[in-house]
């Protein structure tokens, strides 16, 4: 059941998931040097670029397929309403995070 809401998107989803998960494992364990705030922005940028390089293309294909399926299923209005009610808050600043 690693399937997409639309069967025709499932192969694209699978390819994308494989790519993302492989990048994500590395993302979750940043290099120790990157934990210093000064290096964080550069490290974060490099991470984002690596993701774009590896998974950017398959993401565009998968995203296009899913968004078409969402339209076809008439889900746009409910998603839009959900966004209006509770937009994803701006990311909290790092000072809000408790030190482990």
């Amino acid at each position: 059941m690693a399937s997409s809401l639309s069967p025709e998107c499932t192969p694209l989803k699978t390819s994308y998931d494989v790519c993302f998960n492989s990048w994500f494992e590395g993302y979750l364990e940043p290099a120790v040097s990157a934990l210093q705030t000064a290096d964080r922005a550069a490290y974060a940028k490099a991470n984002a670029e690596e993701y774009e390089l590896k998974c950017g293309k398959i993401w565009q294909e998968y995203k296009a397929c899913v968004h078409k399926a969402i339209k076809d299923n008439g889900l746009e209005p409910v998603l839009q309403q959900a966004r209006e009610e509770h937009p994803l808050a701006t990311p909290p600043s790092s000072s809000e995070h408790r030190k482990a």
């Binding site: 059941m1 699978t14 998931d17 492989s22 964080r40 922005a41 994803l88 790092s94 482990a100």
Partner: protein, 223 residues
């Protein structure tokens, strides 16, 4: 409104628990999840990752509920998450998109690294019904009791994925390779356009949890 909260400590560290949480669908404990799609994903300037996922779940309508108000026993949910790999925090909010007039469910989950290199999960659920017809309290109670009954199951699902991840990491492997099905290129994908590294052949997967998981995935399965 009904409220429920619970905290749970995983022995594993934050990166592997967070990965297991994002990989939790599919798993045998979540057979009610019919589909899961990423609909948006972006990197914030501070280096965190924002993801929105659209999930379809199959549900059961209790006998006492008037069926004419429910079009079908499937429900759409949206999951919004933020991953901060520096502060080692995952924040995730899941809520239903349809049947809102009947019941609104919002689940907030946080995973944080602890000092002992373990992972603390904190869950809060809020259920509100404005349905009326003398059923409001009953709907809210039903919703919260269902959630409590399933919270153990959902943890078992995450535990299963954690176990598989731990086992797969014990094996020598190349970049990006694990024996978990949805981490491998699927057989029916013709040509993934992504030039990621692949192992030549998976080494024999360990028995036990893995065999159970694989048998659940056998081609004879209709899902």
């Amino acid at each position: 409104m009904k409220f429920f909260s619970q905290s749970f400590l995983y022995d594993d560290n934050w990166p592997i628990v967070s990965l297991a949480y994002f990989l939790r669908y599919p798993n045998p404990y979540a057979s009610h999840v019919l589909s899961c799609d990423v609909i948006s994903r972006e990197h914030t300037p501070s280096g965190t990752l924002l993801t929105t996922r659209l999930i379809l779940k199959r549900g059961n309508v209790p006998r006492w509920f008037p069926k004419q108000f429910v079009s079908r026993a499937e429900s759409w949910l949206v999951e919004e998450s933020e991953v901060d790999p520096f502060g080692k925090v995952v924040k995730c909010r899941t809520r239903n998109l349809d049947n809102l007039k009947i019941m609104r469910v919002e689940e907030l989950v946080e995973f944080r690294q602890t000092e002992a290199n373990k992972t603390l999960q904190h869950t809060e659920v809020r259920i509100v019904s404005g349905f009326g017809w003398g059923l409001t309290k009953r709907i809210e109670n039903y919703g919260i009791n269902k959630f409590k009954a399933n919270v153990q199951r959902s943890r078992e699902g995450v535990h299963l994925i954690l176990e598989l991840l731990r086992q797969s990491r014990l094996q020598p492997m190349g970049l990006g390779g694990t024996p978990i099905p949805h981490l491998l290129p699927a057989a029916h994908v013709n040509s993934p356009s992504v030039p990621h590294e692949r192992r030549d052949e998976a080494s024999d997967p360990p028995k036990g949890a893995w065999s159970r998981f694989r048998s659940w995935f056998s081609p004879s399965s209709s899902r």
